[in-house]
Every structure is written in structure tokens, then in C-alpha cells.
Amino acid sequence: MVEGYNGLLTATVFLPAVGALVLLLVVKGDRNVRNFAVLIALADLVLSLLVFGFFDRGAGADRFQFVDRITWIPDVGLNAEFLLTVDGLSAPLVALTGLLGMCAVLASWRIGLRVKEYFIWLLVLQTAVMGVFTSMDLLLFFLFWELELIPMFMLISVWGSGRKEYSAMKFLIFTILGSAFMLVAIVAVFLTADIGTFNMVALLDEPTMLTSAGLLIPLSGLFWLFFVGFAIKLPTWPVHTWLPDAHTDAPTAASVMLAGVLLKMGGYGLLRINVGMFPSQTDRFAWALVTLGVISVLYGAVVTIRQTDLKRLIAFSSISHMGLVLVGIGSVGISQGTLTVTGLNGAAMQLFTHGTVTGLLFLAVGLVYDKTHTRYIPDLGGLAGRMPVVAVAMLIAGLASLGLPGLSGFVSELLVFLGAFQAYAWPTVLAVLGIVLAAGYILWMMERTFFGVRRPQFDDLTDASLVEAAPLVLMVVTIIGVGVWPTLLTDVFESGLNPMVDVLNGVINP
């Protein structure tokens, strides 16, 4: 039973928020603010690793663990609960959030403008994202989902660069629009006569209950309403256009969080809600998901090749890589045989690995920008000689991004392809071409940025300092760790996804 109050997740989710409050009220002085923020981020990282580490992945373990459950809005029309819990799908993402939160704080060491405010927003953001990954009540989920907007908006529009206000606004409007659709769907689910709950655990346990009579919106409608919300966040072609702008103009830490965890919220939502709650529709529309996924992969990759701004390049590559999540989910559309968890696990893994990889890329680019004050690729070149640490980090991230074995990206891409190929062979082949293109733009970027003849004005560049290098190392270790020992993650993901696959198999082979 999903009952009780463990407290660990509450602590994990709200620690950054409490930290932000303390920061606001108590801490004075930029130096103290930084140190305190790091402390909080570190503590939260530890907590999130505890969640991940103590998550029981044994065969007989409960599906949902670390339950924190109390009534939030009593049964007066909207009986919502404060229900935090993790399953195999969310536990790694919680860890990812802790990890990237830590990196984001460290990457913000050089922020000089309105320091306290900055770290407050950053910590609030972390709470929001943690909340999204752990709340199992649709209303609470939505609450956190929306909560994340504000800090990100502020981070972009105050501490960003370029057309920061336009970008921040675009980010905001797109996301709000998406969540608006989601809200309608949430409400409609809740209102369905024999459902009457926001409890996602209940909705996941018996997904077939959604096939029962009395739906206000047809199942397919609900599916697509949710899908739009998540697709915008993911982002999927053609609703991706907020991403390059937001990424490009955001400060480094915000880019890291944006690419590293915020996009993952979209993928997580797709897996948790679209796949978990609407198995029949996922099966029915798998072709559409794959189509969108493949378009995103190829379109994103081709457009990436044209980019001359480092951050914009990575942003477009994110579109391409997140397309793989859709392709992985498309594995549900197998026409014969038994669905295995491979593709879905690949999609989930892709969430994690892309989080680390893109996080690292943005960290490295942030350093490059910090030191050279440009992100325009034709203005750069030959930086490897002056900043080898950054170059190595960038190279490792880039190689992981193009799916090099031994690094995390490979595992997720392989699983996605293995899964999807069984359902849609030719689209998958097209998606595979995406990795060739990935090699193209990553290596082109490396060549033009870090290799080749160094411009004289970059002769005095310094390499990353210890504080700057710390997040890089943290990420590199994660990337290699996952790449070498993926079972660490896949097992956990599998324990979360297997129940869904069982349900899906019931739908596919009735």
C-alpha cells in the first residue's frame, strides 16, 4: 500500500526551498550566500542520492517507496493529496536533479549581479523540479510543474544575455500554454465518474479504469492533451522553438538546469502519464510518436549543423536527442510478439543520460563563454591548448552525446534503437542516421572551437579553476560511470517500467 509518512522525500524536495528562505532572511554577504547555497545543494544531493541508493530494487520490493502521504485538499470537490513517492522511473531522475542542482550552484560561482536573489531562484527551481519527479498526485504534480516556471523565467530574464527578455517570455508562454492543455486533461480525468481522484498511483495501478465509461473527453483526446503539454517541454518538433532561444540566452546554470532536468520533466510526464495511464492510446498512436520523434531527431540534427552559436548548437542538438525519447516510447507500437521494456527503458535512460551530457556541455560552454566572452564559433578556435580540462570535458560530453560506447549516451541510444526497431524498423533506421549527423555537428564544433590554430587574443586564457572544474568532474564521472555500468540505472528504471509494460502487453495482446 502506498501509505505512511517516511519524510525523506519531503526533505529532499523542500530542503532547497527552505534553504532559499533562510538565504532570503538570514544570510548576508555574497560570499556567505554562495557558500550557503553550495551547502544546501550538497545536502540535497546527498539526500537525493540516499533516495536513489536506498531505493529497493529487489524482485519483491514495493513499486512505490519512500511514501509521504497526507491529505492536502479535503474531499470537497477536489480531494487532492500531498503524496510524494518515487518508483523506479523517478528515483534516478531525483538523483539527476540533485546532481545537476549541485553543478548549477557551482557553475554560478562567478555570478556577480544580485547574488542572493540568484541563488534563491536557483534553489526554488530545484525544489520545483524535485517536486515534479516525486509527486504522485496530479494536482500536486501540476503545482510543481508550474512552480518551476517562475524561477526559470527570472533566471533567464535577469541574468541571461542577448534577447533574454524575449526568450524568457517565449519560454514562459510556451510552457504555460502546454500546461494549460495538461490542466484540462487533469481535470477531465478527475471528473470521470468512476475515477474521481488525482492519485496517480491509483491511476497507474489500474490504467484500464480509464477505459471505463463516463469519460468527459475521449481517451484519445486526453492522451493528446497531456501529450501537447509534455511535448512542448520535451520539446518535440514543431513546438520546439522556445528551446533554442531560452537556452541561448540563459545563464550557464539555468541552461544546465533547463537542458538537464527541465526537459526531462516532459519525458518523464510522457512515460508516467501518457504511457502509464493511457496504455491503449500509446499503443494506438505509437506511430505518431515515432514519426514526431524521428522528425525531431533528424530535423534537430540537421538544423544543429547550421548553428554558429555554441549554446544554440547544443540547444538544437537537445531537440534531436530528446526526439529519441519519443522514438523509444514508440517501441510500444509493436505489431506482434511481446513488448519488452527495452525501448521504454531506453527512453528513460535517455532522459538521464541526456541530462548529464547536455548539462556537461553547457557547463563547458559556460566556461568558454566566461573566459572568451564569445560563443560565436567562427570567432573561437584552438582553445584546447589553453584550457585542456574544459576541452576534455567538452570532448567527453560530445562523444557521449554522439553515442560513444563506454559513455552514458550509448546505452540509452542503443536501448532506444533496439526497442524501436522491433516496432518500426525503417523509422528507426532514419533515427539511427541522426547519430551520424550528431557525430558531424559535435566534431565540427570541437574542431572549430577547441582545435585548430588559436587566435592570439586567446593566448592568455586560463583553464578552469578548481571550483569550475568540480562540476565538470562530477558530470564526467557520472557519464563514464553510467556508460561503463549502466545496470546501476537500468535496473531501477526497469523496476519502475515493468508494471507499465505488463499493462501494455495486456493492451497489445488482449
Binding site: N345, G406, F417, F421, V429, V432, E447, T487
Partner: protein, 678 residues
């Protein structure tokens, strides 16, 4: 008998030296970077010892089957890491560790003083580890992983001098082109996974290589799983990967550019081992290929065509390393063609001998460069006198390449030619004939460019080396390997010469000793390596039919020798006595020369036409424009539209109160009307 731990150690030792060099020496003790070289050499030496031990165990017929380690298990996909020890593996282990060891020793001298000495050894160790992992892999995904790792180490090493734009570009090109081939390989893997259920039904694992062999056997229990067109596509997918790595037409263009890397790298990776990985891959899946005549035909014809095609470009190159690069491509074509014809063991035999003499040739080129500072043969000449050891060794290696009896190359090439002529029955006869003709023609061309190279480099008068080259070209770009800087005409240091000598000895002896033709020599049975490899294959399949050896044919030997000698003669005739070696007489046949020196315009086609113009400028450009103006533009337009609609409605707000009242009246009437009509 060799233990599992020892075999793992072969792989782990270089990996350890990589970790040591990369994580310890490079960041913390870069001043003592020599340590990393010594550690690497020690590790490789041990690995070589273990490899020999392994080979011995295999020869003695020990049962070397080990339980794999589960790496990843998701859904139906169980990916194991295991060791697949068979004669092919054992031979490859020796080749890789052996050549690698010699090259590392050589590099001590060649790379001396390079600021990135540790990095160099780290990369080299990484490469060796990856290559060994590839060779040892028992699981196709494991193999694919190391396959990619090998690719990335190659990328890193080609781009080792990353300050040089040409090096960085060449590295990128190498990686991307091989990756295009890898897509085929990956798709083959994906296809295998779709059959996982069928494999599992008969207790097999779709990723386990011996299980794949079994599934491909028509007579085997699992015969229904892979067969017919499926098998062909599977084989072609794998071959695509192999073609990328081994530089087979049309994916060969990266290999000559890869010569931008340090010369020892070229020797190890782009001559002896990695490029041969493609051959190894096809050989590894030979039990799959051999049941698809169509796939075999493709492999044979592509190999044969590549053999001649690449060799023809070698005729006109001025850069000594590029000549060798095309030569490598050409020789890889020989091996591929052999495999395509079903000549499994000869192909591997040629791989082995080629590794020895081609590595030696490259090391020789490095040695020459050490003295002259350049790779451009137009600025060499006359080195025979100043570096006699190098000269002798290069001549030996060159003749071995040409296939002059009794050097190593002769014996392996002879096996291939003979086999091609005889045919194996796995492909149509016409394929064998076409292949044979191409390979024979290739011999003539090979002989010509080899001798041309030797003459231009070592004979005649010295033409000034790098100093002159720089003057003439007045180029601002730093010349390659500029740290060797000036010209100091002398024999290379012993640390470079000794490995060359070792390879030279091998290049002389290996051919006959490994495969004695007539009698058992010093304990080595007749046709030992052919039998050894063939038996290994048969044993793996639980069947026979791969161990048959062809007796030495005088006719064939004569024909090939005549062909080789005619090539040599022609080259000697044209080049040996010329005064001015800087203008190539071949350039008089202008159209042909241009075509060849422009590499059949394939780079132009790929890079300028297809990639830069077609893909980048037009396709990606249009898509990028679309994204910015249509997809994103629509979003902005919508925003603009709403804002303007808003302003337009706002304009009704004239400030005129009766206008507002009129609005109310209008509203009332509109509602009445709307409800009446509704």
C-alpha cells in the same frame, strides 16, 4: 593452460596504462611524462607475453570457453561481456600486441620532446586496449562498443596535433566516414534483436557471436532463424561497418587524410591493426557471410575494386605516407576480396604479414621524416647513404609488399591469388575470375608505386628536405610534425631502429615460417596458419570444410612474380636515372595524372558537392531557414497577430462614453440576434 584472468589481463593492462597516463601522469606529473611511455611499454610487453601464452593454449587445443559477465539486461536484451578465444583471436592478439609494442618503443624516440608525450601514450594505450577488446569480444554489442572505441581513439590520434587545422579536419573526417559505415553495423545488430525471441526459443542469445554463427547455419538446429534475404542484409550491414573501418570503396577517402596523425600512429592504427579490424569483422562473421552468396559477391567485388582503385591513386602521390596509405587501402582490398571469395585463412594470413611489413614501411617513413623533416618525396632523395639501415628495411618491406619471393608478402598474397584462381565454390566462378584479374593487375601497380617510392626517397641526390619545401611553398601554416623541425641527415636513434629491425625480421621470415609450403619447418607443420585458422573455424561450427589447403603452385608463383617484376622494371626504367625527380614523368599523361592526383574527385564530390553544397548549404540551410522563419516565425507571427488584434480592439476604446454605450446596445442586439438564429 592459460586462465581467464590472464586473457582479461591482456585487455586490462593497456587499459590500466591508459588510466595511469591519463589520470595520473598527464594531470599531475607531466614533467615526468617519460614514465607513461615506459609504463605503456611494460604493460604491452606483458600483454604480448600473455598473448603468446594464449596462442600456445589455443594451438594445444585447450578448451577456452568462459562464462560471460552480464553487462546489461533490459527487457529481452541481455548483453554479456565475454571472451571468444579461437585461432583468429589468438592470431590477432599477437598482431595487435606485437605491433603495438614495437610501435610504442619506436615512439619513445619519435615522440621525444613532444609536450603532449603523456597524452600520446594515453591515447595509444586506449587504442590498444580497445583493439584488444574488439578482438576478444564474444558478444556483438561488446564488439560494436570496442569498434566504436577504436574509432574514437583513432580520432584522437589523428587529431593528436590538434592545433593543425588539417589534422583536426582529418580526424573528424575519419570518424564521420567510419561512422556512416557503422550505421550499417548497428542496424544489423538491431535486426538481430528483433529475432531475439526466436533465438531464445532454441536457447541462444541473439547477441552472442557463436550463437549467431549457429543461427546462420542452414543445417543447424536453429537454421530457420537467419537465412535467405535476411541473412544477406545482415551480412551487408556488417560489411558496411567493415568497409568503413577498412577504407573500402566508397568509404576509403578518410584513410589517406588520416596520415595527418603522428607516423607511429599511422603505422599501428592505419596500417597494421585498426584498418584491419574491418577484415577481422568480416572474418569474425564469416560463418554468416558464407551462407549468402550475394553478400560474398559484394564483398569480393568491392575488395577487388578497392585493391586496384586505391593502388592506382598510390601511383601519383608525392607524400610518402599517402602512397603507403593508398597501398594500405589496396592491400585491405586484397584481404576483403579474399574473404569475399571464401578464402578465410589466406585473408587473415595476409592481414598478419601485411601488419608486419606495412608497419615497418610506416616506421621507415617516420624514420625518413626524422631525418628530413618532410614527407614530401620531392624533397627527399639520396637517403640511402645516410640511413642505410632504414633503407634496407624499407626495401625489404617494400619487396614484401610487392610480393617478391621469399618475403612474407609473397606467401600470403600467393595464397590469395591461387585461391582466387581456383575458386572456393562459395561464389560464382565469374566473380572469382574478375577478382583474380583485378588482384593480379593490382600486383603490377603495387610493384610500380612501391619502387617509385623507394627510388624517390632513397636514390638520387638529396633535394633539401623540409627547409627547401618551406622555402618553395612559402607556406605560413606550420608544416606537419614541425617539432622535427630541421633537416639532420643521419640514421635514427637505436630506440627507433630496433623495432624496425624486429619488424624487418618478421617481414622476411613470417611468411614462410608461419605457412611452410613444402615441408614441416622447425616444428611448424605445413600450411600451418592456414590450417590452424581453418580448423578453428570448422571447430567453431562443429563442421569441416574450411581447413583445405592449396598446394603451392609454381605457375601461380611465376605469374605473380612476373607481374611484380614487370611493375618493378617499369618503375626502375622510368625513375631510377632521372635527373630532376621533382617533376613526375607520369604527369605527362595529363588527364590521367590529374584524375589520379585528384583522387578521382571523390573528396571533391563528397566534401564540396555533397556535404558542403548539397547538404550543408542547401538542405541544412533551407531547413535552418525554415526553422527560423516558418516554424519559429509562425510563433512570432501569432504573437504579433494577437497583439495587433488586441490593439485593434483597444482602438475601439475611443474614450467616448457614448461609444461605450453604443457598444452595450450593440451587444444586446447582437445577443438577441444570435440567440434567435441559434
Amino acid at each position: 593452460m592459460v586462465t581467464e584472468a590472464v586473457i582479461w589481463a591482456i585487455f586490462l593492462l593497456p587499459l590500466g596504462s591508459f588510466a595511469f597516463a591519463a589520470l595520473v601522469v598527464r594531470p599531475f606529473f607531466n614533467r615526468f611524462s617519460l614514465i607513461s611511455g615506459l609504463v605503456t611499454i611494460a604493460a604491452l610487453g606483458t600483454a604480448l607475453g600473455f598473448s603468446i601464452w594464449t596462442l600456445r593454449s589455443v594451438i594445444l587445443g585447450h578448451e577456452l570457453v568462459f562464462e560471460p559477465i552480464e553487462w546489461l539486461e533490459v527487457g529481452g536484451a541481455t548483453i554479456d561481456f565475454g571472451l571468444l578465444i579461437d585461432p583468429l583471436t589468438a592470431v590477432m592478439l599477437i598482431v595487435v600486441t606485437g605491433v603495438s609494442l614495437l610501435v610504442q618503443i619506436y615512439s619513445l624516440g619519435y615522440m621525444k620532446g613532444d609536450p603532449s608525450f603523456s597524452r600520446y601514450y594515453a591515447y595509444m594505450s586506449l587504442f590498444t586496449a580497445a583493439m584488444l577488446g574488439l578482438v576478444l569480444a564474444s558478444n556483438i554489442i561488446q564488439l560494436y562498443m570496442f569498434w566504436e572505441l577504436v574509432g574514437v581513439s583513432s580520432y584522437l590520434l589523428i587529431g593528436f596535433w590538434h592545433e593543425r587545422p588539417t589534422a583536426a579536419a582529418a580526424a573528424k573526417k575519419a570518424f564521420i566516414i567510419t561512422r556512416i559505415g557503422d550505421v550499417g553495423f548497428l542496424i544489423a545488430i538491431l535486426y538481430l534483436f528483433t529475432q531475439a525471441d526466436n533465438f531464445a526459443a532454441v536457447g541462444l542469445n541473439a547477441f552472442h557471436i557463436p550463437d549467431i554463427w549457429e543461427a546462420a547455419q542452414p543445417e543447424a538446429a536453429a537454421g530457420a532463424i537467419l537465412g535467405g534475404a535476411v541473412l544477406t542484409w545482415l551480412a551487408l550491414g556488417i560489411f558496411a561497418g567493415a568497409a568503413g573501418k577498412s577504407g573500402q570503396f566508397p568509404l576509403h577517402t578518410w584513410l589517406p587524410d588520416a596520415m595527418e596523425g603522428p607516423t607511429p600512429v599511422s603505422a599501428l592504427i592505419h596500417a597494421a591493426t585498426m584498418v584491419a579490424a574491418g577484415v577481422f569483422l568480416v572474418a569474425r562473421f564469416f560463418p554468416v557471410f558464407e551462407h549468402s552468396p550475394d553478400a560474398m559477391t559484394v564483398v569480393a567485388l568491392v575488395g577487388a575494386f578497392t585493391a586496384v582503385f586505391a593502388a592506382s591513386m598510390g601511383l601519383v602521390m608525392n607524400d610518402i605516407k599517402r602512397v603507403m596509405a593508398y597501398s594500405t587501402v589496396s592491400q585491405l582490398g586484397y584481404m576483403m576480396a579474399a574473404l569475399g571469395l571464401g578464402l578465410y585463412a589466406p585473408a587473415i594470413f595476409h592481414l598478419v604479414t601485411h601488419a608486419a611489413f606495412k608497419a615497418l614501411l610506416f616506421l621507415g617513413a617516420g624514420s625518413v621524416n626524422h631525418a628530413t623533416g618532410t614527407f614530401d618525396m620531392r624533397y627527399m632523395g639520396g637517403l640511402r647513404k645516410v640511413m642505410p639501415i632504414t633503407y634496407i628495411l624499407v626495401v625489404v618491406a617494400g619487396l614484401s609488399l610487392v610480393g617478391i619471393i621469399p618475403l612474407a608478402g609473397f606467401w600470403s598474397k600467393d595464397e590469395i591469388l591461387l585461391g582466387a584462381w581456383t575458386g572456393t565454390g562459395l561464389v560464382d566462378t565469374w566473380v572469382s575470375r574478375v577478382t583474380f584479374s583485378a588482384l593480379l593487375a593490382g600486383v603490377i601497380v603495387t610493384a610500380f608505386y612501391t619502387i617509385r617510392m623507394i627510388i624517390l626517397t632513397f636514390h638520387g641526390e638529396f633535394r633539401g628536405g623540409i627547409v627547401r619545401e618551406l622555402e618553395e611553398k612559402a607556406q605560413t601554416v606550420p608544416a606537419r610534425e614541425s617539432h622535427h623541425g630541421g633537416v639532420h641527415l643521419a640514421e635514427s636513434p637505436w630506440v627507433m631502429v630496433l623495432p624496425m629491425v624486429a619488424l624487418g625480421v618478421t617481414a622476411v621470415l613470417l611468411g614462410y615460417l608461419a605457412n611452410p609450403q613444402w615441408t614441416e619447418e622447425i616444428g611448424i607443420p605445413r600450411h600451418w596458419i592456414i590450417g590452424f585458422l581453418g580448423d578453428g573455424l570448422s571447430a567453431a561450427l562443429g563442421a569441416s570444410g574450411h581447413a583445405e589447403t592449396l598446394d603451392f603452385s609454381r605457375w601461380m608463383a611465376t605469374i605473380s612474380t612476373v607481374a611484380a617484376l614487370s611493375g618493378i622494371g617499369l618503375a626502375v626504367l622510368i625513375y631510377l636515372r632521372r635527373r630532376d625527380q621533382r617533376a613526375d614523368p607520369l604527369s605527362k599523361v595529363k588527364p590521367v595524372h590529374t584524375l589520379l592526383s585528384e583522387k578521382y574527385y571523390m573528396d571533391t564530390l563528397y566534401e564540396d558537392v555533397m556535404v558542403r553544397k548539397g547538404f550543408f548549404k542547401y538542405f541544412a540551410g533551407i531547413l535552418d531557414w525554415t526553422d527560423a522563419n516558418l516554424v519559429d516565425g509562425i510563433v512570432d507571427r501569432i504573437g504579433w497577430f494577437f497583439q495587433n488584434i488586441g490593439s485593434a480592439i483597444g482602438k475601439l476604446q475611443s474614450g467616448h462614453v457614448q461609444g461605450y454605450a453604443t457598444g452595450i446596445a450593440f451587444g444586446v442586439l447582437a445577443i438577441i440576434l444570435a440567440l434567435l438564429l441559434a
